[in-house]
């Protein structure tokens, strides 16, 4: 199954979850950093990563803190 993370298409297994997709996409360093996730434009809390299943062509946004005005 294919999903999109930050606009990049990746292949994840047949029964993917948000957690599996993140482990696939993020570097080991990034997994330790502060980040937050949205699935198809809706917020997904950290405690829900493991239970949240993905469907074909789902779109995940993984956002990190940056400077801002």
């Amino acid at each position: 199954m294919n999903v999109f993370i930050n606009g990049q298409q990746i292949s994840v297994g047949s029964e993917p979850t948000v957690l599996l997709a993140l482990q696939h996409f993020l570097s080991t360093d990034q997994q330790k950093q502060s980040f937050a996730v949205a699935l198809n434009g809706n917020f997904v809390g950290k405690t829900d990563y493991q239970q949240t299943s993905l469907n074909q062509d789902d779109s995940i946004d993984v956002l990190f803190p940056i400077q801002g005005g």
């Binding site: 996409f25 803190p65 005005g69």
Partner: protein, 271 residues
């Protein structure tokens, strides 16, 4: 009577002892950002969330600097929803920010026009309503439109942030009359002038009008010497606040001599 008056800024019941809110973007380097923020004596720092590719580490470094500053100043983070164009996007980003930054404060930006980054008032009100219901303490960025400010206040915003002029222009207070009217008509609201401030005198003018605080980024970050400019803004903000509290004299239509005229030498003396 005291020579100086120390008051605190009230953000939804949280008292903050600086009336200058500062952004963390556009500085020449992270180190200058840190020095400038410390020099500003600001206690509230704005920041944002963005996508980051796995290879990038710059964002992590900035975040580390900002955390150090907040710890050193015992300050507060104010995440924004920059880049959002709909209420749905802004609400989602606010929830993501709350999880990361552990704060229910949100600087709500919902942009309606790409050219001047003017807020979309309809989406802004919609997002504000949803976020307040969800327990957020919303600090909405809006134009200097009295009715929009009134609607935001009526929804439950205790803090409202009208613009001085479009973001990043440095044009200062475009419509002083509008801004003064908002101050007069919403005396209970915490008003923070946000965006478009270019010079320390702009900040001073806003504070002289009775605004509770100013929020700026570009004016400091893009100065030739950001650290010195940060100090200038800190002083200008305090000067404006104290000028407002001290009570500005009424303007008069005609000249009045400052020096007593009694016993003026050579008065009406004919040659």
């Amino acid at each position: 009577m005291s020579d100086s008056i120390n008051t605190t800024l009230n953000i939804y019941g949280q008292h903050v002892d600086s009336r200058l809110l500062i952004g963390s973007a556009l500085y020449p380097s992270p180190e200058i950002m840190k020095q400038a923020i410390l020099a500003s004596e600001s206690k509230i720092i704005t920041l944002s969330l963005k996508r980051q590719n796995p290879a990038e580490q710059a964002g992590a470094k900035i975040w580390q600097y900002i955390q150090e500053i907040v710890e050193e100043t015992q300050g507060f983070l104010l995440p924004n929803t920059a880049g959002c164009k709909t209420a749905k996007e802004a609400v989602t980003l606010a929830k993501m920010s709350r999880e990361i930054f552990k704060t229910d404060w949100i600087k709500l930006e919902v942009i309606g026009d790409d050219y001047n980054l003017q807020p979309d008032p309809i989406e802004l009100l919609n997002a504000t309503e949803q976020l307040l219901e969800d327990g957020f303490k919303v600090l909405p960025y809006c134009t200097d439109d009295l009715v929009i400010c009134q609607r935001l206040y009526d929804l439950g915003c205790q803090v409202i942030m009208p613009w001085a002029s479009p973001i990043g222009t440095g044009k200062g207070l475009m419509n002083p009359y509008n801004l003064e009217t908002i101050r007069l008509r919403l005396p209970q609201a915490t008003l923070i002038l946000d965006a478009g401030i270019g010079k320390p005198s702009d900040a001073c003018l806003a504070m002289e009008m009775g605004y509770d605080a100013v929020l700026l980024n570009s004016a400091i970050a893009l100065a030739d010497n950001p650290v010195m400019m940060a100090k200038a803004f800190a002083q200008a903000t305090v000067a404006g606040e104290q000028g407002y509290i001290a009570g500005v004299m009424q303007q008069r239509q005609t000249a009045h001599p400052s020096t007593p005229t009694l016993d003026t030498p050579f008065w009406h003396q004919q040659g």
